[in-house]
Each structure stands twice: as structure tokens, then as C-alpha cells.
Amino acid sequence: MSTLVKNTLRFILFILVQVFVLQQVPPLHRFITPYVYFLFVIWLPFNTPRGWLMIISFVFGLLLDYFLKTPGLHAAACVLVAYVRPFVIGLLIRQEGDDQNYASPSIVSMGWAPYFTLVLILTLLHNSYLVFLEWMQFGTFWFFLGKVLATTGVSLLLILITELLFFRKEKFRTNTV
């Protein structure tokens, strides 16, 4: 499957899963909202130009917003994730050239610890920004803190399960460097 087809399918699937599964689950607590959809942005190929990365994320977030009737909320958080992603990958990559030897960030291409540090940082960033925007409209500081921590915890757990269920085998492309 070509990268374009694969990512288009992921685009649709992540939106549908987020809207019709994760948002439909009866909330355990008001602080817990399971977010997995932005994994799409993390899974995009290494060689996506940064401008396109942000534009794709913006459209992706806005489409989710249309379903959830929260215009701009998830789009803003997604664009932030897309903007920060290249910096964090640059810091965490195991060795020079790994971002050319492999297609996209995953456990195989980056290793367990760096990959989950990447996911942790981006999840925390995404949720902080999202809840911060909510907090500006209502809520207290404890609402902000509690919701960021609880939501990040649940999101990380779900991302871990997703990574294990849909383990992505990455081919080592020797002839690129």
C-alpha cells in the first residue's frame, strides 16, 4: 500500500474511532476524555515537509471539530503537535540518518524509550493546550491540572494498546543514505 493511501485510510479511521467510539463511551469522570486521534499526526512520515505537516494536521483537527461541534479547538491543538514534532524527533533520534533510513516514527525506527518519550511529550502538550483553551472559557486551575493529568494517563494507556495491537513493521531502507 502506498504511503498516501495508507495515510488517507488512517485519516478517516482515526476520526471515526475518535467520534463514534471514544467520545461515545460514558465518561468515567469529568476529567477523563480519552484522546487517541492525534496519533495520526505522530505516525506521519519523517520526510513530510513541515508546512504540509501543519496544514494536514489543521484539516484533520478541523474535521474532528465539525463532528464534535467545537470549531477550532482540536485543530489548534493538532497544529501545535505538528509544529513541535520535528524538534522533538530531532532531539530523540537514535543516530544520525535514522529519519532517512526509516519511513515514519515507530517503536522499530526509534526504539522503545525514545519513541515513548516522543509520544509522552506530544500527548502532554496536546492535552495541556486543549484543556488550557477550555479553561479560558470556564473552570478552575484544579480543573486544568486534574484534567490534563487524567486525560494524558488514559490517552497514553490507549496509545500503548494501539501500538501493541497494530504493530508497524518498518523496513530499513539501506540505499537512501
Binding site: 478541523l62 477550532g72 485543530a75 489548534a76 497544529v79 509544529y83 473552570g139
Partner: protein, 285 residues
């Protein structure tokens, strides 16, 4: 000039980031004013169609609950039928009414439109419901209409599209409705604190009022979009606010929002007349 272009080229990613953020935040913070124009009409149709497909499946799992709610409502309505009542006093005298206006014929104030719910959320802080009825199916545009479920109040229409409409759920931080205790008639605003989708909050009930757990709370006479006497919920917990003379009451919602399948939109036929009368006085404030 050259330096400006160099600057833009060097920071193009950051500038793009800023532009996208500004667009997103603009959408977010102007939503309440302009959502009808830019947000709803085309996109609402798309998401509505997708949600409808999903709801076709989900609907079967909720049939039992939906059926129960509708049959309860039928029972309630059948109990109001005039033919089931007998005249209590056969010796009553009839007096010819001398009024020109026919006082036996009542003027209809609310018209009910039924609508299928295609998507509803309870998991967020501001929840909205999408219903499959829009301007093409006779729903008037550009006004806020009340929405009730077979069990009680459900929300208010905020945007009417061609075939779908968006309803602000009662489970929304911005939603407020004036309600009263069925027993004493004390009124107060009902709102949702974002905590638990099964409980609402009724404030401003004076401590002189007699309240007990399980008491019914109904929409009040001064509510602008609902007829009086529609079920809001039942009292689940009475919080004695020590710092004021008012109770804070925790209400169990009458409507089960996680299993909502059918709602009724209430068109207020006297809305224009009422607004015409009230507007000059509102401006004076």
C-alpha cells in the same frame, strides 16, 4: 525589502504555525456569534450524513429504551383525554358567555415537530445534539427553539441547516433554563456544572422552601422557550449553602441523554409578538 523576504523565508514554518493557530482560535472564540453562517450549513450536512449512518446501527441497540420512553409518554397523554373524565356535577348551570372572543377555543402557542437524533454526546464540557430536521422539513430558521425529549427537557436549537439542525444540549456549560419546584413553585436557574451527565444544578431556592429528596422540578412560567410544566428532573441531593440563604439542589435529569433517540422541537407561535412587546424595555436596561 529583501530582508523582509529573507525573514519570511527563514521563519516561514513559524509564520504558518501562527496563521493556522490564529484561524483556529478565531473559529473557537467567535463560534457563538457566527457559527450559523460559516460553520453549520455545509459542514453540518456532511457530518450529519455520516452520523446518520452510524445512528442507523446504534438505533437498534436502543430500541427497548426508546420504546419504553415513548410508551410512558403515551400513557401520560392518554390520561389527559377528555373522554376519560366524567362531569362531576350534573346540576351545573350553563351561562351564555357574552364575550365576543370564543373563550372555549384556545389559541395554540407551541407547535411540536418530531425529530430523529442522529448524534449526541455526553462526554464533553459543551455537548451538542444533531437532529435530522431542518429548514426543508419545515423548521423555521434564525430563532432559538426549545427541544424536549419524551421524558423531559433536552436542549435548545442553536442552528438550523437545510436538513439537519444543531441543538445545544442541557449538558452544556452555556445552557440555562428557569425552573420551579412542583410543590412550592419557587423558581431558580438550572444549569450543568460539567461534572456528571446525570446530574444538574438548581440554584437560588430560598431556605424557606420545603424541599425533599425525590421532589419534581418543572420548567417555570417565565421560561422563554418552553411551555410551563415540562419535566426537568427530580431532586437527588440537597446542599445547604451555609454562606447564603439559598439551597443548591442537585437534580437527577429526567431525560436519559446517553440513550436519546427522538426529540420534539417546540416552535413558539407567539414569539414575535412577545419579542415586539419586550424589546423596547430590554433596550432601556
Amino acid at each position: 525589502m529583501r530582508n523582509i523576504f529573507l525573514f519570511i523565508r527563514k521563519f516561514s514554518n513559524f509564520l504558518l504555525f501562527l496563521v493556522l493557530q490564529i484561524i483556529a482560535l478565531y473559529f473557537l472564540f467567535t463560534y457563538n456569534k457566527f457559527h450559523q453562517a460559516i460553520f453549520m450549513n455545509t459542514a453540518g450536512e456532511l457530518t450529519g450524513r455520516v452520523s446518520e449512518r452510524y445512528n442507523n446501527v446504534e438505533y437498534y441497540f436502543r430500541l427497548k429504551q426508546t420504546n419504553e420512553a415513548l410508551s410512558k409518554q403515551n400513557e401520560h397523554l392518554l390520561n389527559l383525554l377528555r373522554q376519560d373524565y366524567e362531569g362531576a356535577d350534573t346540576a351545573a348551570r350553563y351561562i351564555t358567555d357574552s364575550l365576543k372572543v370564543d373563550s372555549l377555543v384556545k389559541v395554540q402557542r407551541f407547535r411540536y415537530y418530531d425529530a430523529k437524533v442522529v448524534s449526541s454526546f455526553v462526554s464533553m464540557q459543551n455537548n451538542y445534539i444533531t437532529i435530522h430536521r431542518g429548514a426543508n422539513q419545515g423548521l423555521p430558521r434564525n430563532k432559538e427553539w426549545g427541544v424536549v425529549s419524551p421524558e423531559g427537557i433536552a436542549g435548545r436549537v442553536v442552528s438550523v441547516g437545510d436538513n439537519f439542525s444543531i441543538v445545544m444540549s442541557v449538558l452544556n456549560r452555556q445552557f440555562k433554563v428557569n425552573s420551579m419546584l412542583k410543590k412550592g413553585g419557587e423558581t431558580g436557574p438550572v444549569s450543568w456544572d460539567g461534572d456528571n451527565p446525570q446530574y444538574l444544578r438548581l440554584a437560588n431556592i430560598p431556605k424557606s422552601a420545603k424541599v425533599a429528596k425525590g421532589d419534581t422540578v418543572l420548567t417555570s412560567n417565565v421560561s422563554d422557550i418552553y411551555p410551563p410544566g415540562i419535566m426537568v428532573g427530580t431532586i437527588a441531593e440537597i446542599v445547604d449553602d451555609k454562606s447564603s440563604n439559598f439551597y443548591i439542589l442537585k437534580l437527577k435529569t429526567a431525560t436519559n441523554f446517553s440513550a436519546l433517540q427522538y426529540v420534539y422541537v417546540l416552535e413558539d407561535l407567539q414569539r414575535e409578538e412577545r419579542e415586539k412587546l419586550e424589546d423596547p424595555y430590554k433596550k432601556g436596561k
